[in-house]
């Protein structure tokens, strides 16, 4: 399933780029994402929690930044596993930044997410809807975090 | 932790020690060797696991064995009378209502429950009664005809022995 968001923040493109490279800040904008730790050059480990009604999943994920073109393009992959639920989560993420005018940046991101295994069989339509909610929440959080912080921090 | 339970199956009592998480279907097939009841979909939709509980068709794959205590369970193994096919079973044979046979135990039990409630159901009622039993082979026509025939007073098992 595809999660796509396009939104504008009132913040210069360099600051947005800096924010994206700060894995902890970025991860804090993803609902359910916790415990981000660096795991080598351009790699991170994290935990992703997700829940639909009585069914919960806890993925251990590895995030790898595969391509970078500062300050406008970032590509990363995510590979995660929840062994209790015998399920895997794979995602390929692309973020494009576009400077609209000084002090205004358009953020486009696109994530292709696949859930395999036991969870993948259950409620594909509902997972897509939840994924969309996660995407919207992520966009809201990023915008709020960027626009809230005083310049230079 | 296993629980000691007694199940009444086809008129006979069975004493068992089962984990609460085991289904009636698992216990029938694996503990008691009554393999006439089948597992098809593991989610209650196909009907291959159908048994009668106090005369009503239910999905044995969705019933915990511990939860079936104190009720009369009938499986396909309990349908024949004195070693001779029940008239529903005979009708299924006579009308060619059996191909691979996987849906057959469930179909026959549902038909038995129906005819005991409504001795002369019409086609509509038969269709409604078997609506929860999927058959991949026959296209249902012969099954319905067999049940209809078995409901007629003139239909009886004439074969000897």
């Amino acid at each position: 399933m595809i999660i796509e968001e396009k939104f504008v923040v009132n913040v210069p493109v360099d600051r947005v780029w800096g924010f994206l490279l700060d894995a902890e800040s970025l991860a804090s904008c993803v609902p359910g994402c916790e415990h981000v730790e660096p795991a080598g050059e351009n790699s991170y480990m994290a935990h992703m929690k997700a829940r639909i009604g009585p069914i919960s999943a806890n993925f251990k994920i590895r995030i790898d930044i595969s391509e970078m073109d500062p300050p406008s393009y970032l590509k990363s992959t995510m590979r995660g596993e929840d062994s209790m639920m015998a399920s895997n989560l794979n995602a390929s993420n692309v973020i494009d930044l576009r400077s609209l005018e000084p002090g205004k940046t358009e953020i486009c991101y696109r994530s292709e997410v696949t859930v395999l295994g036991r969870l993948g069989k259950f409620g594909e339509g509902i997972m897509k809807r939840k994924a969309r909610d996660v995407g919207e929440e992520f966009a809201r959080s990023v915008k709020e975090r960027l626009e809230r912080a005083p310049s230079g921090s | 932790m296993k629980k000691d339970i007694e199940l009444r199956i086809n008129g006979a009592p069975y004493r068992l020690s089962v984990e609460p998480g085991r289904t009636l279907l698992q216990v029938l097939r694996e503990d008691l060797g009554l393999t006439g009841t089948k597992e098809g979909c593991a989610s209650g939709e196909c009907g291959a696991c159908t048994v009668l509980l106090d005369g009503e068709p239910v999905r044995s794959c969705l019933i915990l064995a511990v939860d079936a205590r104190g009720q009369e369970i009938m499986t396909i193994e309990g349908v024949a009378e004195n070693g001779k096919p029940h008239k529903i079973q005979q009708a299924f044979i006579d009308f060619g209502a059996i191909q691979c046979g996987f849906c057959t135990p469930g179909m026959i039990l549902v038909a038995k429950a129906l005819l005991e409630k409504a001795p002369q159901p019409g086609e509509e009622e038969i269709r409604k009664a078997i609506s929860g039993n999927l058959c991949r082979c026959t296209g249902y026509v012969k099954i319905i005809k067999a049940i209809e025939a078995a409901s007629q007073p003139w239909y009886f098992v004439s074969k000897k022995g």
């Binding site: 639909i52 009604g53 009585p54 069914i55 209790m84 639920m85 015998a86 036991r118 969870l119 069989k121 259950f122 409620g123 594909e124 339509g125 509902i126 897509k128 809807r129 939840k130 | 932790m1 629980k3 984990e19 609460p20 998480g21 085991r22 289904t23 593991a42 989610s43 209650g44 939709e45 009907g47 159908t50 509980l53 009503e56 068709p57 239910v58 999905r59 794959c61 969705l62 019933i63 915990l64 511990v66 939860d67 549902v110 409604k128 009664a129 609506s131 929860g132 039993n133």
Partner: protein
């Protein structure tokens, strides 16, 4: 299946206490939804509490206030075949008859279905149209919750971990009333793509005195369409029905899945709401006017 402790309480209080003592215990009613989740290893409760061993939770009766009281442990087939429900709350018997298959209706319970909170379930739209109230017992208190406040998200309700649904109360309907449950599905009685419950009550002058409308399958929860109350106070005409249908479509935000797309569902909400309201009116004994 994973191991869990299994209990057979004799009272509701006992069941609630057992829930408070557990981390993620679940109650077992008919098992039609719960055992599927268990067998498919999607949930891992530490204990299972069988509610069927509690007496008195499966009655269908009119209480002194004239409300219909349905015990949460009533099976779908009990509701389908109950004479008082068929006569006075036809919409409920109709919804029950469209649930899955006869063997599942022999096992599944109305309380279990409501608490499982599948947004496509068949009972909630009918219960919403009837403005049902849900009686819930917990270890410290009991409360009554209007059904339109009960569902919060996919498979989620306002129930606290120690609470059990015990009774469904349906307010009496004035006479004449008509109710209908329409189900859009691919094959008979499969999972609903959409489910619409509509009720209309009239007075002697053929003015509408009450209208109820519930929509299932069009959002993360079953929807109560409040605009339907605009039908009251006058004869029901086609323009008012169309306005209600538009409001229902606006409120809908369905998912796309293998059975139907988002756009198709949204469009069909409009079509079926109109159809259901017209049929409810017909069953109340009137035909919709065109003016």
């Amino acid at each position: 299946m994973e191991n869990f402790e299994y209990f057979e309480p004799k009272t509701v209080q006992e069941a609630c206490t057992l829930l408070t003592q557990s981390e993620n215990g679940k109650v077992l009613a008919g098992g039609a939804s719960l055992v599927v989740l268990l067998k498919n290893k999607l949930i891992f409760p530490d204990r299972l509490i069988n509610l069927k061993t509690i007496e008195g939770l499966n009655r269908i009766e009119l209480n002194p206030q004239g409300e219909l009281s349905i015990g949460a442990l009533c099976r779908h087939r009990d509701i389908e075949s109950s004479p008082v429900i068929q006569e006075r709350f036809e919409i409920l018997a109709e919804a029950a008859s469209k649930i899955s298959s006869p063997p599942i209706r022999n096992m599944g319970t109305i309380g279990g279905g409501i608490c499982h909170a599948d947004p496509s379930a068949d009972f909630p739209p009918a219960l919403i149209a009837l403005e049902a109230r849900l009686k819930v017992s917990g270890s410290k208190r009991s409360r009554t919750i209007p059904i339109h406040e009960f569902f919060t998200d996919y498979y989620e309700t306002v129930l606290e971990p120690d609470e059990i649904l015990t009774e469904i109360l349906i307010p009496p309907l004035p006479s004449p009333s008509g109710g209908v449950y329409l189900k859009l599905d691919k094959t008979t009685n499969s999972v609903a793509i959409l489910g619409i419950g509509a009720v209309i009550s009239l007075d002697k002058k053929e003015n509408c005195t009450f209208a109820g409308l519930g929509v299932g399958g069009a959002a993360p929860t079953p929807l109560a369409i409040k605009e339907v109350s605009s039908l009251a106070g006058k004869p029901v005409d086609i323009h008012s029905i169309e306005a209600v249908a538009s409001a229902a479509v606006k409120q809908s935000h369905p998912i796309s899945n293998v059975h139907a797309s988002e756009d198709y569902r949204r469009e069909m909400v409009g079509v079926l709401v109109k159809r259901a309201l017209k049929q409810a009116l017909e069953r109340a004994g009137k035909k919709v006017t065109s003016s």
